[in-house]
Symmetry: C4
Subunit: 198 residues, 4 copies
């Protein structure tokens, strides 16, 4: 059943993205009870995994928000299934502070592989959710605005197809080297941010 | 006294829903100080009650948001009583991270019944608040938009009438088996998400 | 210098109100490490100060939001001073989770008087900020919309004048009895919520 | 590639600003386990660094929001680079609760200089991001609305140029005296809030 316009759904989604991206900082802890001979500067530097995990998650939530924005700017209607699929996507986004905290806690420890797999796995799942949402929209008559630019539609289809592939590679990489998978994540984020990409 | 349009009330309510749904993740804790012989993977799996509680609360807050959205899309006016009743509803929603944390802490422990009763009890109370709000709206001339679809109104009345019944059953079930009550909650959520329900 | 319309200022303020009201729940803690012979139900009941403090703060933030809404629905312009005074108000609102946590920690302890004074004192200061903001708006030509209802303006002036008086009484009461000051707060909140008040 | 209007970008940014400014309060902790002979009032007063750090960060996030507001009220379009530069700015804003907590923990301790440098350094970086964003907007044809007031544009350019200078001074001051750098921050905030500044 086709329904109202997309305004409130966007507002709600924006809220969830904005909160998830801002909660990430709660996982960067103030160093307390410094061990003998360790200065605050050193203690702050030793926390680099927390900064790295924060940066990657911040960047990817930002990119997801841009993608969400691109999708919804082409819609003229929502329906029940779209609400549910969008909810699945938001489920992934709200979960993100957890794997981010997990990664920042376990990088450099014996168990870092599990943390890296969970971290990259969540992003992989979200990328798949994005594709499911997009395919549903494209396949369902009446959701896309009549004047939606076919080139913009094709560009999204193309760009979303890469997502799961890239995240699958970072996921696989984490089996061998968590650091390598994170370096690739950062490289992807920078690549995406370069002008002319969009 | 009939007042302004509903824009800012929706924006505020959306904010509360979005924040409550996103705060839930703060109750999923990173396992620390793993006991001897327990790997991170195992420790993560042992946290399944936290994931289950998160999933149920996320889903129900999402469903409540959709219902809130449906109600407000039919309104053309607000008044003081509506503000107060909407406030009661938001009170229930903002409280939710607490019973969610309680449940995820106590599933599988001796005291899980109390936790399950509180968890299901809060949802029951919110379902009742939804019905009070809706009945007030239907009974108060001038709140519903003149062109509000009578079928949509009837559909909400019908669907809301089920809410307290279902939650009362899960509440009662929790006396006998917390797990059974949660399974029923998950089943309800999936049932609701199926296409054609709305 | 008169400036743009009030849309984004309202959206930002709504966000702050919505977040502050939702963060309050983080002060209701899950009881852990129950002492011997104390069941979860009993432990939850013993936390009543946290629920009471939550309820009072939730209600008053809700009432403040309604008042903010009433003020801004009459405005057609903002200016720099209005932004600053609104900022002072939001400062008070964002602070609220702290005195709420303080009160819920110290009710029933020897030091409860200090906690009660801080709690009621913050509300007193916010009520004064509301009056400063409102007097500035009324006194500054061009901020109120030309078609703003003079009766609505007079009603706000009257209702805001009571605020500091009531909060001053609860503040003073806290010297003698914290519980009495909280009972009065709850009574005020219920009185405010009654129909016909607005 | 020039794109849609700025509505959703502003809404998302507003959300991030509103959440960051409201999360600051989580760093003001309720004093627990008071040492013998220390009353609650005294314990609360001893926490002045937390209040000071809160106040400075609250004020500066507020000022940044006003500046963001001023910039976006002049825009008619966004593009990919603008999204990325705005994202960098929001990165700085979401980080702020961390240096705020760091400062409030370490003022008065031996390591306070590092905390002060990090605190002022983050504000310096954000001020530079603001200038990068603004220069990009001014230099890119089509982003500014055609009817954007040239005086407003010049006023922003002038006022933003001061930002990094002031923050550089507070940063440098922190080498010699953290307290002096904070006093200057408070003075700046009050100066900014004075009428006629904008």
């Amino acid at each position: 059943m086709a329904e109202k316009a997309t305004g409130r759904l966007e507002a709600f989604s924006d809220g969830v993205f904005a909160i998830a991206i801002t909660l990430l900082v709660l996982d960067i802890k103030v160093p307390r009870d410094l061990p003998e001979g360790v200065g605050l500067g050193q203690a702050l530097l030793q926390q680099w995994p927390a900064y790295l995990a924060f940066f990657i998650s911040f960047t990817f939530i930002g990119i997801m928000w841009i993608n969400h924005h691109r999708i919804f700017s082409l819609l003229s209607q929502t329906d029940h299934t779209l609400l549910v699929l969008n909810g699945l996507l938001l489920l992934g986004v709200t979960v993100l502070p957890f794997p981010t905290a997990l990664l920042s806690e376990y990088i450099g420890h014996a168990e870092q592989r599990i943390a890296g797999l969970v971290f990259n796995g969540v992003f992989l799942v979200i990328a798949i959710f994005f594709n499911i949402l997009w395919r549903y929209i494209v396949g369902q008559p009446g959701l896309l605005a009549k004047d939606a630019d076919p080139q913009a539609i094709a560009a999204i289809t193309r760009s979303f197809a890469y997502g799961p592939v890239f995240y699958l590679i970072t996921f696989g990489l984490a089996f061998f080297s968590v650091i390598a998978s994170l370096v690739m994540s950062v490289a992807l984020a920078i690549f995406y941010a370069l002008p002319g990409r969009n």
